[in-house]
Symmetry: C2
Subunit: 373 residues, 2 copies
Amino acid sequence: MFKIEKKDKNTEARTGIFETAHGPVKTPVFMPVGTKGTVKAIRPEDLYSFGSNIILGNLYHLYLQPGIDIIEAAGGIHSFMNWGKSILTDSGGFQVFSLGKIRKIIDEGVQFKSIIDGSVHLFTPENVVKMQSRMGSDIAMVLDECIPFNQDYDYTKDAALRTIKWAELSLIERKAGDIRSDMKIFGIIQGGFIKDLRSYSAEVISGMDFDGTAIGGLSVGEERGRTFEMLDHTIQNVDRRKPLYFMGLGDPVGILEAIGSGIDMFDCVMPTRISRNGSAFTPLGRINLKNKKYTRDFEPIDKTCDCYACRNYSAAYLKHLIKSREIFASMLLTIHNLNFIFKLVDASRDAIAAGNFKQFKKDFLNNYKIKGV
Amino acid sequence: MFKIEKKDKNTEARTGIFETAHGPVKTPVFMPVGTKGTVKAIRPEDLYSFGSNIILGNLYHLYLQPGIDIIEAAGGIHSFMNWGKSILTDSGGFQVFSLGKIRKIIDEGVQFKSIIDGSVHLFTPENVVKMQSRMGSDIAMVLDECIPFNQDYDYTKDAALRTIKWAELSLIERKAGDIRSDMKIFGIIQGGFIKDLRSYSAEVISGMDFDGTAIGGLSVGEERGRTFEMLDHTIQNVDRRKPLYFMGLGDPVGILEAIGSGIDMFDCVMPTRISRNGSAFTPLGRINLKNKKYTRDFEPIDKTCDCYACRNYSAAYLKHLIKSREIFASMLLTIHNLNFIFKLVDASRDAIAAGNFKQFKKDFLNNYKIKGV
């Protein structure tokens, strides 16, 4: 499934390509999040224009609304949402475990109440794979138990072992059940912030018969130093021949760090969410357009940017739209911020291919203020 | 300014063309409303694709946010909002008079408190023309007093006479003040629902040195029969050589009635507003996509429609987006509903040119259920 094309000499970074039922995907790759069957406030054609070949969907949300039956009857998720390229679906484990009191772990899986109507539902390792197959997903994620930051050893171990057991059940379901043969399945490494549990999970999960390996349970509220310490530790124990996916990471600095650590795939709601809150990425750092200094700034938010928003609109206009709570503000900033992330990842890929990723990363970080401009 | 091209034999309908500093506009014409410097949830390029050559802006809203100074410093409203074709700006009279207790009519004009910060402002016949000129408007509207439905004779008369007096002051300002010579100015007929006040206002306003005549104070909550009774009465008393603009009308049935009565221009927030509430125009009537029957309707909302939304998405998908409160629902329905209105007006223009508008209107109304499908 995955072909590594170029390895960086100075870091763990690499370029590669993998193939799904909906075409090739070059790595490293950022996957925009389309939780409910739409990447918020943007058209597919705009995503294609950035070179976006894979987006995320979320089983948990789509299961509750509109329901898997509807998506299946529509001819699958691609047809339903008019997306012609690859779709990776998250199993919903992360969402279900975030529900707190209204979910309960039982032997078979996790039981939860619908936030829409209070009805009771059960996700199992088997049925989440099956439902992702029925939806038409290109890459399915297994059901995992994602725990909050800094839990104790016993709880962290229980969750990691349960995730491994569920991973095994997912693979049995793939062999025995009625699962589409053209759907890839990725296992998920857990183990919290405890190194031996991380190493063990990494070895076991990445050694299983999955098409790719995901790293879950990081970027859950910890300091950035901890994130990358655990990431580097985890990566030492995975099968590096498979694509490696860091779940829930998507800020510019984090992306460069993760690529340097050997990550091939990442996703995050952040670039689209900050767009709806009036923030924008620039080469100098993230800016908040609500700031008074943009009131009379008739230049584009980023003079080096070639996106639709920067070609046509000023910072002052965007600020006005945000203050007026206009939908068009979200539309324009979503285009700008996703375009920024895609250009950054494209440039990283080029730098790896050219053998100068380390310098590229250093130059970017020299200009980019992490705390915002 | 205005050239009438073809008059219908059976109705008052006509086709024509007028020219502004930003190019020609064919009439009859629907003007999408871009109150705060953006037609909500749609890009200019999509409006161009429907053949939209003129949109509305609103002085009252733009004066409060971002302020006329900012728009002027941006190089004018066209440059600020990246709209290359004509812009008609409403004076804000309608909005100010809707403010109720926080506005007061004084000799010079109307005083009001900002809904943003409570500060006190004064709109006069002179300064609204001047501010529209500074903004770069192609067609400015005079300050008028728009009263609620069914007021008594004395109040209605006072408002109509004040509107006439203000109209005169606007024209004096045009001659004496620092007003752009390439900006057109339209007078506004008031007179409530009292026929002799309507006739008088119509004669006086349309006889004054304005570039066009607007009919205000209708479509303010009355029954449709009353609207068109007053419209037909008013039209008998206007100078028919000038373009005639019905303010605040934009539903499909109303548009056809108004065109048949001789109206050349109309605007309304309705087509864009219903788009954000999950409703869509179809040839059979208006539909509400929240309705259960669309849950499994995998056809486009209008099979005869060639818009971006109907070419690519099903009613079921739109229903899902609306239930999920996704911005993309508003984006898609705004495209569909504006496209519907533009096609209807284009077809009306063609029918007038071909001499069969009456039959065209009859055929449309035979299919279109006013109360919705």
